[in-house]
């Protein structure tokens, strides 16, 4: 009964003051768009850093112990592979090497601005942990062929598809060398260091990667990490400790620790989180300020209502419902607006809406109203019915 009356009072006031409530809903809608895009951008950036590492079909990544979990600082040669493989509980291992290169435009450069697409070049052992799962094409046919598997983003940005031959351009010594590689597969999500991924067999990687003038030992294959797949039923943490014990000068980390230590990953994430937090706080202050001012303007009405017998519950529920409705309308419009805007973005824009992130953001947005409205609620509850007669206690 009280709830029905409160809801009807709240809604009638909103309907008959549409302009006033629409303006605060519009502000909430804009804050919603801002928050959702921040969350999307944060997720897009994070994904750009962690996508490849996250997709490794293994549980552990082995680093040089002096590398301090920095991939670029970790350097192994082939001998490490056998040592790690020997550890009990290891099912399979694969070497992984990281560099970057440029894919030249398909059909040659059309203009001087058309510099090609920068990609993360990732060397893997076909069939071993770290190698990509292709969703199109056959995948690698040999461990040393001139073949490449493109991550989805690399395929979209270069326009290459399975069967095409792409040219990569790497600076080796003082000159730019070009290598033709046949696209043998497309794999989902292979970004690393905010660049699309292009994966090649490790031996091919060694040939096409950018190199300095002098190489320490041109005959030996160098790579950065060893990806480890545990035997079924083997606890990854226990296995990691065993590897560190039995293999000299290595450290083993799970995939999450690995990508959290990619340079910039944590810093970017906390920057975006801080911006999101600030925007939510601004939202709380804006909504709080609006409803507080509105309540202060209505003290006379509220006093009258209490004098004629409206309970504090009726007043409180009405106040809260109004805030919740206004907030809900704003967040809904903002979310729909964000979806509409996002649909117009090209696939290359690094904004990614992940269900979990969006739900957390929307949850945060839905509480800014009630949280901001607490001050207004307090003011409304403190009004004395006696003020209806122009008297105060």
């Amino acid at each position: 009964m009280t709830v029905l009356l409160s809801a009807s009072l709240a809604l009638k006031e909103m309907i008959r003051n549409v302009g006033r409530f629409a303006s605060i809903s519009a502000v909430i809608a804009l804050i919603t768009v801002l928050i959702l895009f921040l969350a999307g951008l944060g997720e897009g950036l994070a994904l750009g850093n962690r996508q490849y590492l996250e997709s490794v079909d293994g549980q552990l990544l082995v680093y040089q112990d002096t590398a301090d979990v920095q991939i670029a600082a970790s350097q192994f040669d082939r001998s490490i592979i056998a040592s790690v493989r020997r550890v009990e509980g290891v099912e399979d291992v694969g070497a992984v090497a990281f560099s970057s290169t440029v894919i030249e435009p398909l059909g040659g450069r059309q203009s001087s601005e058309d510099a090609g697409q920068r990609v993360s070049l990732i060397g893997v052992e076909p069939g071993r942990p770290g190698a990509p799962r292709v969703v199109q094409g056959s995948g690698f046919t040999s461990s040393s062929g001139n073949e490449v598997v493109l991550g989805r983003q690399a395929a979209i940005r270069t326009g290459a598809s399975v069967g095409d031959v792409i040219t990569v351009r790497s600076t080796q010594g003082a000159v730019d060398e070009r290598y033709d590689l046949r696209v043998v597969g497309i794999a989902d999500g292979q970004q690393y260091q905010i660049s699309p991924g292009a994966l090649v067999p490790l031996i091919t990687f060694d040939r096409v990667k950018p190199k300095g003038e002098v190489q320490a030992d041109p005959s030996s294959l160098v790579f950065n990490l060893v990806a480890v797949r545990a035997e079924p039923g083997v606890d990854a943490e226990v296995l990691g400790e065993r590897i560190e014990r039995e293999v000299r000068s290595v450290e083993a980390y799970d995939l999450v620790t690995a990508y959290e230590n990619v340079p910039g990953y944590t810093a970017q994430k906390s920057t975006v989180d801080t911006q999101t937090g600030f925007t939510l706080v601004i939202g709380i202050l804006v909504v709080g300020g609006f409803f507080q001012i509105q309540t202060l303007q209505k003290l006379g009405q509220i006093g009258m209502l209490k004098a004629i017998g409206a309970s504090n519950a009726t007043i409180a529920i009405s106040t809260v419902l109004q805030i919740v409705f206004t907030n809900l309308i704003g967040v809904t419009i903002g979310a729909l607006g964000t979806a509409a805007l996002a649909a117009t973005f090209p696939a290359t824009v690094p904004i990614v809406f992940r269900e979990g992130n969006v739900l957390v953001a929307v949850g945060g947005l839905l509480i800014i109203g009630p949280l901001g409205g607490l001050v207004a609620l307090r003011a409304a509850l403190r009004v004395e019915p006696l003020t209806a007669l122009g008297l105060a206690k």
Binding site: E13, G303, M304, L391
Partner: protein, 261 residues
């Protein structure tokens, strides 16, 4: 000040004494309200006793600061007396909790105020039926009666208007309908004519008096304008917090309203 003849004619048709045999609708006994200002005790209302019968319309008059509003607030259950008690519809309201008092007010008391009388976002009809909603008694028959009351108050064609579309006098009349719609024992009006011109003020008080009489409510109206007492059955004069004089002879009331001392 001369009053239009129509008011006199209408006033004379109202019986000045209620016919009922039941007890008083409102009893105040030895009601006192003091305020402490430093070590000084201010008597806003001092030892006031008063009875109002169903169907009786009482004016509470007196100079500014004489305690009219404080007394009205205590009769309304909005202010607790320092001493004495108030009984409405045979219930002593002084001992009730705040929550119980709120409930009691919405059931047994009708109000019109000087300001902030109506909710600006409710229509005329909704402002009146709000009292029914608060009491959980919004029946079709009650809504019909709300329309009838508004019709009697000359607002039959303004039911869907918002208060902002009405004049001050019309707004006052809406609040009179609201004060009566839930058939309360007592109807209280705080300076209902304060913001109206003389002509409208007389109309409002006259209609108010008629409705109090017809519906057998106990009506109490605070006013500082003695001319308004011509439609009441009893005038209670306050001075310095004390009940100075009660006038209930019709000819004396008429004399008072025409400016006699």
């Amino acid at each position: 000040m001369t009053v239009p003849a129509s008011h006199d004619a209408a006033a004379s048709t109202f019986p000045n004494t209620p016919a009922g045999v039941t007890g008083p609708a409102l009893v105040a006994d030895g009601v006192t309200k003091t305020y402490q200002l430093g070590d000084q005790t201010i008597y806003a209302v001092k030892d006031v006793s008063l009875e109002v019968q169903p169907g009786e319309f009482v004016a509470l008059v007196g100079p500014s600061g004489s305690g009219k509003t404080s007394l009205l607030a205590m009769l309304a259950g909005l202010l607790r007396p320092t001493e004495g008690y108030v009984r409405i519809a045979d219930e002593e309201i002084g001992s009730m909790s705040d929550r119980a008092l709120t409930r009691f007010r919405r059931r047994n008391i009708g109000f019109t105020f000087q300001a902030n009388n109506l909710l600006p976002y409710l229509t005329v009809l909704e402002n009146v039926t709000l009292m029914l909603s608060l009491n959980g008694r919004t029946t079709p028959a009650a809504v019909d009666w709300a329309k009838e009351l508004l019709d009697q108050l000359g607002l039959g064609d303004r039911l869907r208007n918002l208060p902002s579309q009405l004049s001050g006098g019309q707004q006052q009349r809406v609040s009179i309908a609201r004060a009566l719609i839930h058939r309360p024992a007592v109807v209280l009006a705080d300076e209902p004519t304060a913001s109206l011109d003389t002509e409208r003020a007389f109309q409002v008080v006259q209609t108010f008096a008629q409705l109090v009489h017809d519906n057998r409510r106990a009506g109490i109206m605070v006013t500082h304008d003695l001319r308004m007492v011509r439609y009441v059955d009893k005038v209670v004069q306050m001075r310095d917090g004390v009940l100075e004089r009660v006038v209930d002879a019709p000819e004396e009331i008429r004399a008072l309203s025409e400016g006699a001392p």
